[in-house]
C-alpha cells in the first residue's frame, strides 16, 4: 500500500500505451475436460506466469489447497466459492480477464464434473476457442468426450488440446502421441456427426509446473510447437461477417417524440449502410435505411456485433422481436425446426408440452413434437429414446405455433440459437441449435404421409396455419399487395379473386381451406378490410395497417393467433 505512482522507465509513454491498447482485439476462450484434469490449475498458472494476479490475491491462497507444501495451488485463484475450495472441485464457471501485448482475453474456467455440464455449456457458448484438457496419466475419459462433443455442437471455432500432467508420466513423448491420435480420431468422429470439423492443436503441458503454458518447456525438447499462450495470442478472434446477410433483431422501439422513431438492436450478422433496402419480418414490408443513429453521432456503416439504432425512410410497423434483414436474403419464416438440444434440467424433456422458446429478442411458445434420437456419448451412436434426461443430447423436432425467422446455427450463431424455458418453474431447461429450418410442410408432412383417405380440412388447417375463408379488401392497391405479401411470407395459401367473381366459386375456395382475397383495388389512400360482418378501415400511411388486417383475420378465427407469449395456442 505504500506503493507510490511512477512507472519508472523513462522510455514508457502512457500515450503510446493507450494507442496500442486501442488496437487490441478480444478473444474469449473456455476450458473443458474431465474433473481434476487440471483446468483451474492451468488457468491459475496462466494468470500467474503472465503477472495477471495481484500480490494480495496470491497471498490469500498461499499454504492452502491440495498441493505439496511450498507449491501454490493455482486452482484456488479461480475456484472462488467456498464449496469449491472445500470440495477441491469447480462447480460453476469462473470468468477471468487478462491482457498480453497482443490482445485482451476473457477466460471462462468451467467445471469438469458431469453434474455441472450445463455450466460448461454456459462458458463455451460465448467462446471463440476452447482449451480441452486431458490428464496424460488417464487418457481420454467420458467427460472429455462429452465436452468435446458439446464444444463442437456450439461450434467453438478453435480447439486447443492441452495434454496435462506430463510431469506425472515423465514427459513421455510416446504417451503424448498416443493420446493425440486417440483424440484426433474422436474429434473427426464428432465432426462427422455434428458437421462442424475443427483443426485441433495439441500441446503437452504441466499446468502445475508451468511447462508450455506461457513459456516453452525445456523438459520436452521433442516438442517444438508454440506454448499455450502463444497459440491463444495467435488464433483469429472474431470472424468477419460482412459478407453474410444482414440480420438485426429489434430489441426496442425508441420514440422519444413524434419526430423520431428508431429501432434499437445489436447487429447479429452482416453490414448495414444508409440507403440499403431492408425487409421487416414477419410483416414482410420493405423500406430503406435512412440513418444509423448512435449517441456518438450517425454512422456511415455498421457491422456485427455493434449495437445501433436504425431509422427507416418510410414508416413500417416493427416491434420488439421482429427481425430487420437484408432484402436479398431475408431468411425463412419457420413454423418449426429440427434442432440439437442439450438438456439441462432435472425434469426430463416432455414431448408435446408447452415450453417457451427464447430466440434473439423474442419469446414464443414451442412444442417438442418428436425426439429423433439421443446421442450416446460413449459411442456417439444415435439411440431411439422417448426423453432427454439432464445432460442428455439429442435431435428433436420443434413446432412453433407463432412463426419466427430462423437460420441454421451453422450459418448464423446468433439467429440459429435458442433456449427453452419451462413456463412453470422458469428454469432454463435446454440449449438449442437449429439444424434445419422446417416449413410446416416438412413437420406435419411426416405424420400426414401415413394417413389415408381424402385430405381433410383439419389437415389443411394444421399445415397452412389458417382455415379457409374470405377476406374482402377494397381500396389502396399498395396495401392489398402488402397484405398479400405478409400472408405469403407466413406461408398462407391465398387466392386473389375479383370482387365481381361468382360468390359460389369463392365459397368453394374457402371450403377447400384457401384464403380467398376478394379484391376491389383502387388508388385510394385507405383500405377497407372485411371478414363476414367485421370491417376495419386503415390508411396507407398508417404503419400498423398490415398488422391490423392480420389481427382482423385472427380475431375472426381465420388465422392462427399471432400470440403474445404466455397465452395458449390451440388449433
Amino acid at each position: 500500500m505504500s506503493e507510490t505512482t511512477a512507472v519508472q522507465e523513462s522510455t514508457f509513454s502512457i500515450q503510446d500505451f493507450l494507442a496500442e491498447e486501442s488496437q487490441k482485439d478480444l478473444l474469449r476462450f473456455s476450458t473443458a475436460g474431465s474433473v481434476d484434469d487440471g483446468k483451474s490449475t492451468l488457468i491459475g498458472r496462466l494468470l500467474y506466469d503472465t503477472q495477471s494476479v495481484y500480490e494480495d490475491q496470491v497471498k490469500s491462497i498461499e499454504g492452502k489447497g491440495t498441493t505439496q507444501p511450498g507449491q501454490i495451488d493455482f486452482a484456488l485463484l479461480t475456484d472462488g466459492l467456498r464449496a469449491e475450495r472445500e470440495q477441491g472441485i469447480t462447480i460453476d464457471v469462473a470468468y477471468r480477464y487478462f491482457a498480453t501485448d497482443k490482445r485482451k482475453l476473457i477466460i471462462a474456467d468451467t467445471p469438469g464434473h458431469e453434474q455441472y455440464t450445463r455450466n460448461m455449456a454456459t462458458g463455451a457458448s460465448t467462446a471463440d476457442a476452447t482449451v480441452v484438457l486431458i490428464d496424460a496419466s488417464k487418457g481420454v475419459l467420458i467427460q472429455s468426450r462429452r465436452h468435446a462433443f458439446i464444444a463442437s455442437l456450439l461450434r467453438v471455432r478453435h480447439v486447443l488440446v492441452a495434454v496435462n500432467k506430463m510431469d506425472l508420466i515423465g514427459y513421455d513423448e510416446a504417451k503424448f502421441r498416443a493420446i493425440e491420435s486417440d483424440f484426433r480420431a474422436l474429434l473427426s468422429q464428432i465432426a462427422a456427426d455434428t458437421g462442424s470439423p475443427v483443426t485441433p492443436h495439441f500441446i503437452p503441458v504441466s499446468a502445475l509446473l508451468g511447462d508450455n503454458i506461457v513459456h516453452r518447456s525445456s523438459a520436452m525438447s521433442w516438442y517444438d510447437g508454440p506454448s499455450l499462450l502463444e497459440l491463444l495470442e495467435s488464433v483469429p478472434a472474431a470472424i468477419n461477417s460482412d459478407k453474410e446477410p444482414f440480420r438485426f433483431p429489434v430489441q426496442r422501439v425508441l420514440r422519444p417524440d413524434s419526430t423520431f422513431r428508431g429501432f434499437a438492436g445489436q447487429i447479429a450478422s452482416g453490414i448495414v449502410r444508409p440507403g440499403d433496402t431492408i425487409v421487416a419480418l414477419p410483416s414482410g414490408r420493405s423500406a430503406q435505411v435512412a440513418r444509423i443513429v448512435t449517441y456518438d453521432g450517425d454512422l456511415a456503416e455498421a457491422q456485427a456485433p455493434l449495437s445501433v439504432t436504425l431509422v427507416l425512410k418510410t414508416e413500417v410497423d416493427i416491434s420488439r422481436g421482429d427481425l430487420i434483414a437484408s432484402a436479398e436474403d431475408a431468411g425463412t419464416i419457420a413454423r418449426g425446426c429440427k434442432a440439437h438440444l442439450v438438456w439441462m434440467d432435472q425434469q426430463p424433456l416432455q414431448l408435446h408440452r408447452r415450453y417457451l422458446l427464447k430466440h434473439t429478442s423474442q419469446t414464443v411458445p414451442a412444442y417438442v413434437t418428436a425426439l429423433d434420437y439421443r446421442t450416446e456419448i460413449g459411442t456417439l451412436e444415435h439411440k431411439r429414446a422417448h426423453t432427454l434426461e439432464i445432460n442428455g443430447i439429442g435431435v428433436v423436432s420443434i413446432q412453433l405455433p407463432r412463426p419466427i425467422v430462423l437460420d441454421k446455427y451453422s450459418e448464423n450463431r446468433a439467429t440459429g440459437a435458442f433456449i427453452l424455458i419451462d413456463p412453470a418453474t422458469n428454469s432454463t431447461v435446454a440449449a438449442g441449435m437449429v439444424r434445419e429450418v422446417v416449413g410446416r410442410d416438412s413437420l406435419v408432412g411426416t405424420s400426414s404421409a401415413a394417413a389415408s383417405g381424402p385430405v381433410t380440412g383439419e389437415e389443411r388447417r394444421r399445415r397452412w396455419g389458417h382455415s379457409g375463408g374470405e377476406l374482402h379488401l377494397t381500396g389502396s392497391v399498395e396495401l392489398i399487395d402488402s397484405v398479400e405479401r405478409a400472408l405469403f411470407a407466413m406461408g398462407a395459401v391465398t387466392v386473389r379473386v375479383p370482387a365481381l367473381a361468382d360468390a359460389v366459386r369463392i365459397s368453394q375456395l374457402a371450403a377447400a381451406g384457401l384464403l380467398a382475397l376478394v379484391v376491389a383495388p383502387s388508388n385510394e389512400e385507405f383500405l377497407k378490410a372485411r371478414v363476414g360482418e367485421a370491417e376495419i378501415i386503415v390508411e396507407t400511411e398508417d404503419a400498423t395497417a398490415v398488422t391490423a388486417v392480420l389481427e382482423l383475420l385472427e380475431e375472426n378465427g381465420l388465422l392462427a393467433a399471432h400470440n403474445e407469449e404466455g397465452s395458449e395456442y390451440s388449433i
Partner: protein
C-alpha cells in the same frame, strides 16, 4: 457466418494473420453492455439502476445514455446512501442526475442511521449488513423493482467472477451460487415469479483497466476523489510494514489525540469514508491513473476493509442479498 469452421490453417495462426480489429475491445464490450441494458428495459416491468457514484456506475450510466439515445433512460437511478459517503460524492451524484435529466431515488436505512450505526460502534460486517444490504433490500421492495442493474465487474473479486450477467435472486434477495441458471450466448432468461428478482451486471466482462480506458476514450466525468491532491489523512501503520491512509471525513474514526497529516493521495475505489483507504499518489489525470495502475501489485479492493473481514466474506454478503 462463413463456412470457415475447421478450415483454419496453421498459416492463419501466424501473427501477421491477426488483423487489426475494426471494433476494438472497448467497442465490443460497449456493444455487449448496451444489448444487456436494452434487454432488461424491455423485458422487465420495473427495472432500476443502482447508482453508487463510483467509476463503474458512472460508466454504466453513460452506457445507459447510449443504449436509449435519443430517448431518455427509461428507468430511475437508485442510490443506497449509508450516510457515510464522501460529501463530494453526494454533490457529484446530484449534479450528474440533473445534467442528464435522470430520475434519482435515494434510499437510506433511517432507523439504523438514527440509532448511530457505524463501523466502529458495530463491526464493519454488521454495519454493512444494516446500511447497505438491508437498505438495498428495503429500497428495492419499497418501490417494487423486479430488476436492478449493478456496476459490479467479475474481475473485482473471486465470488463475483462466478456470477451470471442475469443473477437470479429469490424472494429474500439472496443468491444461490451453487444453483445458478444456465446462461447461454446472449439469450438471457428474464422470467421470475412474483417477489423474485434479477440483479443485472452489464459490466460483467469489463476490467478495471477497461473502465479507465473507456472513461479516457469517452471523456466521462468522474468524482474528483479519484485524482491525487493534498488531502488530510490519518496515517496509520498496517501489517507488513505498510500503512493505511484514512480520509478525514467522519470525526468518530480518529483515535484519541490523533492528528491528520496532509498527504498527496487519491482513492482507488469509492466507498464509505470510514472504510475506504486512500493511496499515496501523484496521479492527477486519467492517463496518470492508468499509468499508475500498471505499477500496482495489489487489487483495487485491497484498500477496502469489508472484503477481508473473513475468508469468502464477499460471497457471504452476496448470499445475504448484497450486490
Amino acid at each position: 457466418m462463413s463456412g470457415t469452421f475447421g478450415e483454419v490453417q496453421s498459416a492463419e495462426l501466424s501473427a501477421a494473420a491477426v488483423q487489426a480489429p475494426r471494433a476494438n475491445h472497448l467497442r465490443l464490450l460497449e456493444a455487449e453492455s448496451i444489448h444487456i441494458l436494452r434487454e432488461v428495459a424491455s423485458e422487465f416491468e420495473r427495472p432500476v439502476m443502482l447508482y453508487s457514484i463510483g467509476k463503474d456506475s458512472t460508466v454504466m450510466l453513460r452506457l445507459a445514455q447510449k443504449a436509449f439515445f435519443p430517448a431518455p433512460i427509461p428507468f430511475p437511478l437508485l442510490h443506497i446512501d449509508t450516510g457515510f459517503k464522501f460529501a463530494e460524492m453526494i454533490a457529484f451524484r446530484d449534479q450528474m442526475a440533473k445534467d442528464i435529466g435522470a430520475e434519482l431515488l435515494v434510499w437510506r436505512n433511517e432507523p439504523a442511521i438514527a440509532a448511530g450505526t457505524n463501523p466502529i460502534a458495530l463491526d464493519t460486517k454488521r454495519c454493512c449488513g444494516l446500511l447497505k444490504t438491508q437498505a438495498l433490500l428495503d429500497g428495492l421492495k419499497h418501490y417494487g423493482f423486479d430488476a436492478a442493474f449493478g456496476g459490479a465487474r467479475r474481475d473485482e473479486e473471486k465470488s463475483r467472477a462466478k456470477e451470471r450477467i442475469y443473477s437470479f435472486r429469490d424472494g429474500a434477495g439472496q443468491w444461490d451460487p451453487k444453483n445458478q441458471r444456465p446462461e447461454l450466448w446472449n439469450l438471457y432468461n428474464a422470467r421470475v415469479h412474483p417477489g423474485e428478482s434479477i440483479r443485472v451486471f452489464p459490466l460483467s466482462n469489463w476490467t478495471e483497466m477497461d473502465v479507465w480506458q473507456y472513461i479516457h476514450q469517452e471523456n466521462i466525468p468522474v468524482v474528483d476523489l479519484y485524482f491525487a491532491k493534498e488531502r488530510p489523512m490519518y496515517v496509520r501503520p498496517a501489517p507488513g510494514g505498510q500503512e493505511t491512509l484514512l480520509p478525514v471525513e467522519q470525526a468518530f474514526v480518529a483515535w484519541p489525540g490523533e492528528k491528520p497529516q496532509m498527504v498527496k493521495s487519491r482513492l482507488r475505489s469509492l466507498g464509505c469514508s470510514p472504510c475506504t483507504g486512500a493511496i499515496r499518489s501523484d496521479a492527477d489525470s486519467i492517463p496518470a491513473i492508468i499509468a499508475e495502475m500498471l505499477s500496482f501489485r495489489s487489487s483495487e479492493r485491497a484498500n477496502r476493509v469489508i472484503d477481508h473481514d473473513q475468508e469468502g466474506s464477499m460471497e457471504l454478503k452476496k448470499r445475504e442479498g448484497y450486490f
